[in-house]
């Protein structure tokens, strides 16, 4: 909210005035009414590892975060550039492998990646689109500059919270919202549907599009039902699908119905027991072969996790330069690859200052935050790094931005990040804004919902 010199950034002035004018009881009343709205809508997620299948209301903060038109313009161009390059990269690595031959990205990083899928080699995907739905996490540094923290290219989630946050926000502060001139995001489901439709196999003019969910026990099940409903498409589980002669069908009371496009919210590993994990009951046997035969589009494509491996992340600026001949518009965070001797020694000596992350994990799991860690935790990570350096990266602990949040009737600053959602079909579409995630605990740098983080509405101003 404030610039480095401590003054309030101009776009926040009206908000601050409005909040200052509201009596405390009124603020509380609006907060309670918003909470109730989330509760009755059943907007929940599942926390793993605690009581099995505990459902929680997604914590929500009433104070919106604001992004100016200029800031957004840069973010939008930067993300478009990045996603375009990453898509080229996936196509190249699973195809000719030019970038590997030219030694811009080392082969062993690619082949040792947990999410590399050799089955994808030499396969043509519809419209050459590997990643149709992307959620990229950004941080805003003290300098005001936005940097990319990571790309989520497999099954990024959270977009339903972005949409419901906006709906609640409009009801809670209608006048304020109106006076600010906020760019709309509500057409996201329609854009997603158009994106999916544009990727349908040739000769299927009215494609049957479905959303594939792992089922009710998945943490993002609410989102799956929400998106399916908003798009008016069928929500299916693996057991609803069958394949025959390389065609995917869904089992309906009116017989088998052909499926043309699958918006997949199931990880690669669980998608097809014949090709990937044989013990998975979540997928559909024969799906991959139908995909290979070009009879069904599955998106995101298999093996896209290759490009969101945290070690690969370090190479993204080079990847952008290689394919597009441009400098990255949105910079990376400095990243140490621990396979390199010099970096590793530096990291091991400075574990108390750095953040260490396991490369294949997400959701804040497998992470060490140096300044907030204990000696024992650091020793554990040091051992793990020595044992398998490829599995970790390290980054400096960033001083990223905080945003005002409402606690009771107090406004306090908390760390936030931003996850815009990028759609890639016949063109790139990014709805203005995204999910701003909030570290609810004072001083915490972890914003993931699976780690108890919350969220707030993000306003991109006209």
């Amino acid at each position: 909210m404030r610039t480095p010199d401590g003054s309030i950034r101009p776009q926040y002035k009206a908000l601050v005035e409005t909040l200052a004018c509201l009596p405390q009881e009124e603020l509380l009343r609006r907060k309670q009414s918003a909470d109730l709205s989330f509760l009755t809508q059943g907007i929940t997620f599942t926390v793993y590892g605690r009581d099995e299948g505990t459902e929680r209301i997604f914590p929500y903060d009433l104070v919106p975060r604001m992004i100016s038109a200029q800031e957004w313009d840069r973010i939008e161009r930067g993300l478009t550039q990045r996603i375009t390059a990453l898509n080229h990269f996936l196509r190249d690595v699973y195809g000719e492998g030019k970038i590997l031959n030219d030694r811009v990205v080392p082969r062993d990083i690619v082949y040792s990646c947990k999410h590399y899928r050799r089955q994808m080699c030499g396969l043509e995907v519809p419209r050459n689109v590997y990643i149709a739905v992307v959620g990229t996490d950004l941080l805003r540094l003290r300098t005001g500059e936005f940097v990319v923290l990571e790309d989520n290219l497999r099954v990024p989630s959270g977009v339903s919270y972005m949409l419901t946050n906006r709906r609640v926000m409009k009801r809670t502060f209608p006048q304020l919202f109106h006076s600010y001139g906020v760019r709309p995001i509500e057409h996201y489901p329609q854009l997603l549907l158009n994106t999916l439709r544009s990727l349908a196999p040739e000769g299927r003019p009215e494609p049957n599009i479905v959303l594939l969910t792992p089922g009710v026990y998945n943490s993002a099940y609410f989102e799956h039902t929400y998106l399916a409903r908003q798009m008016g498409i069928e929500l299916v589980e693996g057991r609803d699908l069958v394949t025959h002669d390389n065609i995917v069908y869904m089992r309906t009371t009116d017989g088998l119905k052909r499926v043309d496009v699958i918006y997949r919210r199931v990880d690669d590993d669980f998608s097809d027991p014949l090709i990937f994990r044989a013990d998975s009951g979540l997928g559909c046997a024969g799906l991959f072969n139908a995909y290979r035969a070009g009879n069904v589009t599955v998106t995101n494509a298999f093996g896209t996790g290759l490009a969101d491996d945290k070690a690969m992340y370090a190479y993204v600026p080079d990847i952008i330069k290689y394919y597009l001949g441009e400098d990255p518009i949105l910079p990376n965070v400095k990243t140490y690859l621990l396979t390199e001797e010099k970096s590793r020694q530096h990291v091991l000596a400075n574990l108390d200052k750095l953040v260490v992350k396991a490369v294949g994990e997400s959701g804040g799991y497998g992470m060490l935050i140096g300044p907030q860690s204990t000696t024992a935790q650091r020793a554990d990570f040091a051992r793990a790094i020595e044992a398998n350096p490829r599995n970790y990266i390290a980054q400096p602990t960033l001083d990223f931005s905080r945003a005002p949040c409402l606690f009771g009737s107090q406004i306090e600053p908390r760390h936030v990040d931003l996850r815009p959602y990028i759609l890639f079909g016949d063109k790139v579409n990014i709805v203005p804004g995204g999910l701003t995630r909030v570290a609810l605990e004072k001083g915490s740098l972890v914003v993931n919902s699976s780690q108890g983080g919350g969220s707030k509405d993000t306003w991109v101003l006209e």
């Binding site: 009710v216 399916a228 069928e234 929500l235 609803d240 089992r251 009371t253 017989g255």
Partner: protein
């Protein structure tokens, strides 16, 4: 509609109908036990178990208290009210987006009522109230189902589950009762017999409805006629099978496939049998066998629903 979704809606509904039936029969049995009678408590409990389809693992050992708790709260008994309500809620949860919020909240409330830490104490303190509140919960659920849900295919599967379960349960009940009921006809009428007959009617919530049609003049033939062949009373077999047939027709109309000939024929035959058979024909023949055959036909309809709408083979579906 996805087969899985239809399956879940159908079972959600069957399980609730089943728990209602168990609660009602238990309530009637407990109330009959209060009166001294020629029928022993042993016979009554055994008869209750038989008319509930002899749930596996539940046996009458002379412990009335243990028996009622097994039938209501025992989570290991696959037929207990708790198990049925759990299963209904689980089925609903799997298709949360296909049912209305009101339905979900009603069912959820019922579930939490059964699992409340006070449930057993409430049951002990006032069994009648407790059982009545469970039935209230189920009735409310049915009410909101009918008033808040689109009467499309999903609703038809819910209705199908309700009436098929009810038809099967009523046929089972009558099969168990018919012998003693018809033997009564030859005996002197006594207050005990009156209570027995009222009990049977109350098991199907049909005592008042019976009185409207036949006055309070109870006779075994008429009771059997009413519960089997009345076309206007929702718990009568004929009415239930009418409901099954109507829903099957509606589901068939909603789809574009070749009609499920065997399924429609089986339901149609049962429907015609109940429509065109007179009570005298049934009584002159073998009423037990008649009821048994109704049960067999209900099972057959269930299997055909599965074979046609839910678990059909890929080959058969591709051949169409």
């Amino acid at each position: 509609m996805l087969s899985r979704v239809a399956d879940s809606l159908y079972w959600m509904s069957r399980y609730l109908e089943r728990s209602e039936n168990t609660v009602r029969q238990l309530d009637v049995t407990m109330s009959l036990l209060l009166d001294s009678s020629e029928t022993s408590a042993d016979t009554r409990w055994q008869r209750l178990l038989t008319s509930l389809g002899n749930p596996p693992g539940v046996e009458w050992t002379g412990d009335a208290d243990g028996m009622t708790r097994a039938l209501i709260f025992d989570p290991t008994n696959a037929a207990s009210v708790t198990t049925c309500i759990n299963a209904a809620r689980e089925n609903a949860r799997q298709v949360r987006e296909e049912i209305s919020t009101e339905q979900w909240q009603r069912l959820n409330r019922l579930y939490h009522q059964m699992h409340s830490p006070h449930a057993q104490a409430q049951f002990r303190a006032n069994m009648n109230d407790f059982l009545a509140s469970i039935i209230d919960g189920i009735h409310l659920f049915k009410g909101v189902s009918d008033t808040t849900m689109i009467h499309g295919e999903g609703w038809q599967f819910i209705r199908l589950g309700r009436y098929l379960e009810r038809a099967y349960a009523t046929a089972t009940l009558l099969e168990v009762y018919q012998e003693s009921l018809l033997n009564l006809a030859e005996q002197e009428h006594s207050g005990y017999q009156y209570l027995e007959q009222v009990g049977l009617l109350r098991c199907c919530t049909s005592f008042e409805a019976y009185c409207q049609v036949y006055t309070a003049d109870l006779s075994p033939d008429r009771i059997l006629e009413f519960l089997l062949l009345n076309r206007d009373f929702p718990h009568a077999l004929r009415y239930s099978i009418d409901g099954v047939r109507q829903s099957l027709d509606a589901i068939q109309r909603a789809g574009g496939r070749r009609p499920p000939d065997e399924l429609l024929a089986t339901a149609g035959k049962l429907h015609s049998m109940l429509r065109y058979t007179t009570i005298n024909e049934i009584l002159e023949g073998n009423p037990g066998a008649f009821l048994h055959s109704i049960r067999e036909q209900c099972k057959q309809i269930h299997e055909l629903i599965y074979r046609y709408y839910v678990q059909y083979s890929i080959q058969s579906a591709l051949a169409v």
